[in-house]
């Protein structure tokens, strides 16, 4: 009995601790059934406006927004299930592959709506996974570091630039740590699939002692200060917001091809508040939600009809080369294969870490 009590106590403390990491948006008159829990990989700041707007449209729904790393999100969700205490009503993750795996493994509920049907076909799968944003993976440069020199426009040019003067760029190239960043792994694996130059790029970056970070924010911060001069494969949306607030950064959409990923929403079949979850998802997919995400959160809208500053259309106009959206679908499961992933990580680690 006492042990049980102790367990309960520990659980309560842990719950309180995990709650501390979450952003709560209380609502007047909210009941237990109108609490909505969102697990997300997106910065709270980017979603704040959307949640407030949603709450204005749907009074009485309290929202708990819990920010997690994408791997963490995936494991937390499954751990909740294993414990028999599903908590999340909606999963928003930039790790498209992990979201696809959740759907493939049967954890998702279907959401059928006209808004969902308006999404481009690559951005939805089985009425269970939905792309909410349109985010190209870009190269970000510190303008000061280039001091008037031409910015490389393709991967080939980037390789050439670094090779020509490896010492100058040593330690000044940054990219995602694919061992810890799911979106980084997703982008790297897609590069490996799409580009014949990927091996050379990896080798070049390795030889220039590439710096890896798990968070986009950390990479951008170092780019802004000039510690890093080149950021490869970063999500453009965050860079865009920093440029907007005066950072000396420039975004280049690689002209050979530009990968496009989308923050993917999955509605778990185990959602404690499915009605609220459907409503919030529908809001995010609606023109209004898309506009709010784009204008107030800096997350480019995926629906081309959304008349926002950073829309899919705006990006398509800005990009000169071909855009290659990563297709939501079972193909993404391939790089999650344990053997495949291990081999890929070995190669990547070998290249990046070899001269570290």
């Amino acid at each position: 009995m006492i042990r049980h009590l102790r367990t309960l106590l520990v659980c309560a403390v842990l719950a309180a601790a995990s709650d501390a990491l979450a952003e709560n948006y209380p609502a007047v008159g909210a009941t237990v059934s109108s609490h909505l829990t969102i697990y997300s990989t997106t910065d709270t700041a980017a979603f704040q406006a959307a949640i407030r707007h949603f709450q204005r449209l749907n009074p009485g729904i309290a929202v708990r927004y819990k920010e997690l790393e994408s791997n963490e999100l995936y494991e937390q969700f499954l751990a909740d299930l294993t414990r028999g205490q599903p908590k999340a009503d909606l999963l928003l993750s930039s790790a498209m592959d992990l979201q696809v795996k959740l759907v493939n493994d049967g954890y998702a509920a279907s959401h059928v709506s006209p808004s969902a049907r308006m999404l481009p076909s690559w951005a939805r799968w089985r009425d269970q996974a939905f792309g909410l944003t349109f985010e190209p993976a870009v190269m970000v440069f510190n303008i000061d570091a280039f001091a008037g020199r031409a910015l490389p426009q393709t991967r080939g040019e980037l390789i050439e630039l670094v090779r020509r003067d490896a010492a100058a760029w040593r330690g000044r190239i940054g990219t995602y740590d694919i061992a810890n960043s799911s979106v980084g792994y997703l982008l790297a694996s897609q590069d490996a699939r799409q580009s014949s130059e990927y091996g050379a790029l990896l080798e070049t970056m390795g030889s220039a002692a590439v710096k890896v970070e798990r968070r986009t924010g950390d990479l951008l911060a170092q780019l802004e200060t000039g510690d890093l001069a080149i950021g490869y494969n970063l999500l453009g949306s965050y860079a865009q917001s920093r440029i907007a607030s005066g950072a000396p950064l420039a975004i280049v959409y690689p002209r050979d091809y530009t990968l496009v990923v989308t923050r993917t929403a999955v509605l778990p079949a185990s959602a404690p508040n499915p009605a609220g979850a459907h409503r919030f998802l529908e809001y995010l997919l609606s023109i209004e939600g898309q506009r709010t995400l784009a204008n107030n959160g800096g997350l480019p809208a995926i629906r081309s009809e959304a008349p926002a500053q950073h829309t899919q259309r705006g990006i398509i106009d800005a990009a000169v080369g071909p855009l290659r959206p990563v297709v939501l679908g079972p193909g993404l499961l391939v790089y999650l294969d344990t053997q495949k992933k291990r081999r890929f990580m070995d190669v990547w680690g070998g290249a990046v870490g070899a001269l570290d």
Partner: protein, 467 residues
Amino acid sequence: MKLSTLSLRARIAGMLGLLFMAGTIALVFAAQVYGRLAADKSYDRLLAGSALSIAETLSIDRGTLQVDLPYAALDMLSAAPEDRVFYRVIGPGSDTITGYDDLPGWQPPSRHNRLIALDSARFFDAAYRGEAVRFAVLGREIAEPGMRGWVWVQVGHTRRARDDLTRELVLGAVAPITLITLLALSVVMLGISRALRPLQRVGQDLAIRLPEDLQPVVEPVPREVAPLIDAINGFMRRLSCSIKALQAFIGEAAHQMRTPLASLYAQAHVAINEDPEGMRRSVAAIERNAAKLSRLLDQLLSDATVTHRSDVRVFEPCDLLELVHEAINEGVPHSRRWSVAVSTELDVAPFVGDTLMLGEAMKNLIDNALKYGFSAQEPVVVSLQTEANGYLITVTDRGPGIPASQREKVFERFARDDKGVSGAGLGLAIVRRAVASHGGEVSLDNRVGGGLTVTVRLPWRAQNSHP
């Protein structure tokens, strides 16, 4: 509604509808089976291709089995865009090398079948993670230093695309069939309506006719209905004849009764002013005319009785001999009983017939014989005997007889002989009708030495004949 009164349209439509429905159901089932087979066939190729592309990347590296899952292996399965995909690679030790390690079990084929299974995937359906999943399994024999045995690649996807394709195929097959069925049914209904229209026209034609209009129906009708129309026309012809005969009979009967009544009236009128002697004569004349009238009425009654009885046919066992005696008793006054003799060797003459009709016939025969053929020398003889297939009854007299040319005519109602000696003229007509309704016949012959023989033949089993 009784089956026999059910409308033809409903019958035909019902039968055809049932047939079409059964046909459609059978076709739907067939289409479903075929559709599923076709869908499985096409998507199985995809699965097999996927399994093959995985199998081709199998390699041994430092004693461990390596699988380099090709992107296309799973991406190609998005040809079934909405389906979840599962895969597993099973090593020689039945351990999962990579993929979903809890895929539904599958027994590797026996050693003999493995060679056959080479390169051709095996397929099976199983439930996995809450959905029906189609799996393909492909085997590869590994014989490398450090590892020997069979490696199995199992790839599966949910059945959504297959089911969609099946549905599409079934719909594609069933929709036109249903359409054609409906079309055929409506054409049939239209055809039935058109086919039945002549019957409606005949019905309308008959409905608006005046009661006395017995003209034949001339409406053209389909061959199948012609017998019905012929029957109607034949019936109307007979009806028309019998109405004419009835009208003639009524006219004649009225005429026949008028004459004795007129005489009665005249004689009664004369008698009022007569002296007793004259009055006695007049009364005697009145008595004669009254008797005549009475006889006429008897005969009319008898005729009506026989006509009615021949319609209703109340046949029962009886004795013809007794019948003859009764006819004599009822029809001949005691004072003249001597003038009728019965000649027979039979004690009893069993027969099945209508006693009333036969009795009337006998009475009329005897009455006629006494009336026209009475002679003081010889009595009227009624003889009864059996012959091959029935009874033979003859009534013979010594009267004047009837010339051959007149013999058919006397059977008609109100017939009279040439000399104007009139009976009521109904007697022989009654006899003929009564005998005919027993399947028998009546004939007349003059006797050698003067007189008439009336021969009546009554066959056995008269109850079976139809007059």
